[in-house]
Amino acid sequence: MIAAIVQGVLVGGTYALVACGLSLAFGVMRLVNIAHGDLAVCGAYLALMAAAGFGAPPVLALVLVLPLAFGVGALLQLTLFERALRGGELAPVLVTFGLSVVIQNLLVTGASANPRSLDGGAFALAGFEVGGLTLSWLRTAGFATAVVVLGSLHLLLARTGFGRRVRATADDPEAARLSGVRVRPVFACVAGISVATAALAGMFLGLMSTFDPYSGGLILIFAFEAVVIGGLGSLWGTLAGGIVLGVTQQLVALWDVRFAVLAVHVLFFGVLVVRPVRA
């Protein structure tokens, strides 16, 4: 029981790591990014390329992948999302869905449909014992990363001038403009951060499991559920949402593995019914 809860919390950290970028983009720009999972998969592929090209271990690949992902996110915002966001409620969903399909097809042509994975070396396969529980280093690192990322994002938003601008813009972009805030760069940065965190999460998923050009869909579903369960647009809520997902899954698995994933979806559905999403 305790084991299940601890494992669930760790798994939840991974969900939260994927979800935080989605949550951020929604919270600030009201952007529902259907391609978020696919962008995470792209991050994993980039890390794979960095590893193959320069022989860089995944951690070093970060140095390369994160800035690149940030740039891609900013560029997407300036070229694609910005226009979509002006086009009404449905446009961003359709546009990012299109992006998702494009990414999947590009990945299939560029990298084939074979499942790939990142090699994390001995660290990724090792575990440690704590109070009679065996925990995986990798998952623990994933959870810690999620907490650090969410914590830094929180500090960035709460304590810095950039964060103030972001919050002001998220509240009321027109009023922010009127106070002199250049909204485009703010949104571009937020999209950049969102995609960078997606890429980071993608790398963790690549270390834990395999990915292929179509993995993004499943990643998106869990991230989306974490965001909704945690309350839309709230970062700590997203972490809580991820943990709730992970723990639910583990506890239900204790009883019957068959219903573990189903339970998560049912929980999500229940939350939607009790607390419908308002835009």
């Binding site: 001038g161 919050r167 002199g180 250049r182």
Partner: protein, 250 residues
């Protein structure tokens, strides 16, 4: 400093500006009156950059700003308050003003904190600096709206019904604030107000808008006396009362 050159704007069948031209000079204090839906707020939108005119041109300091983003116009020196206050509800009162001081006035670091504090003191919000802006009452919100606009260090200030919905003493307080700001910074003001009395006490020029056109422009009492303006005003009972009040004052 501000010139509107034959600007036009329609929303479907509604015309909010029709070949409207207007110019305002440094230090001017211009009042704007007109019935509901006359296009007063829309006019501010086109000056501040929230709203793009269908035709015509907006110039500020001789420079065409029609295509410029609202944030750029703000940095050039156009400040504006909203008719219905729109504070950043997730930020504290201080942060609301600080964003304007840093982004609009271009101050950094300590200078920006000093400016924000100064504006808050000037608008009587100093005690509320730490409170989330979402938890302010109407008068305080209107003050914050004014404070945020002032913190951008504008040279032209657009005030949209800052007195609406306030009690007489509250209006008097706000008027005093604005007069003080004008005296100190020498800024030009365009002020939309239904409470004509508050206006006539402050402005030296009055414009009356109706159906997207200027139907009167000149010294306040003279404008109010023109038949065209009277006709527009007598259409609504409340405005008619206001008119008689002003005349009685005079």
């Amino acid at each position: 400093m501000l010139e509107l050159d034959r600007i036009s704007k329609r929303f479907g069948r509604v015309t909010v500006a029709e070949e409207l031209s207007l110019s305002v000079r440094h230090g001017d204090a211009v009042g704007v009156v007109g019935p509901n839906g006359a296009g007063k707020t829309s006019l501010f939108g086109m000056i501040s950059g929230d709203l793009a005119p269908d035709a015509g041109e907006v110039r500020f300091d001789g420079r065409r700003v029609t295509a410029l983003d609202a944030s750029v116009r703000c940095r050039l020196g156009i400040g504006r308050t909203y008719q219905v206050p729109r504070p950043f509800t997730g930020l504290s009162v201080f942060e609301n003003v600080l964003v304007a001081a840093q982004q609009g006035a271009g101050t950094r670091g300590r200078a920006s904190y000093a400016l924000a504090a100064e504006v808050l003191a000037g608008t009587g919000l100093a005690d509320l600096a730490g409170r989330p802006a979402g938890r302010l009452g109407l008068l305080q919100r209107k003050r914050l709206e004014l404070a945020r606009a002032l913190a951008t260090r504008p040279r032209l200030l657009l005030l949209d019904e800052v007195a609406g919905g306030l009690t007489d003493p509250e209006v008097a307080e706000l008027v005093a604030l604005i007069t003080a700001a004008r005296a100190r910074d020498g800024l030009a003001v365009i002020w939309i107000e239904h409470v004509v009395r508050a206006l006539t006490a402050t402005v030296d020029r009055l414009i009356c808008l109706a159906g997207g056109r200027v139907v009167g422009d000149g010294r306040p009492l003279e404008v109010l006396a023109t038949p065209a303006v009277r006709e527009v005003f007598l259409g609504t009972e409340a405005s008619a009362d206001a008119l008689t009040e002003v005349e009685r004052d005079a």
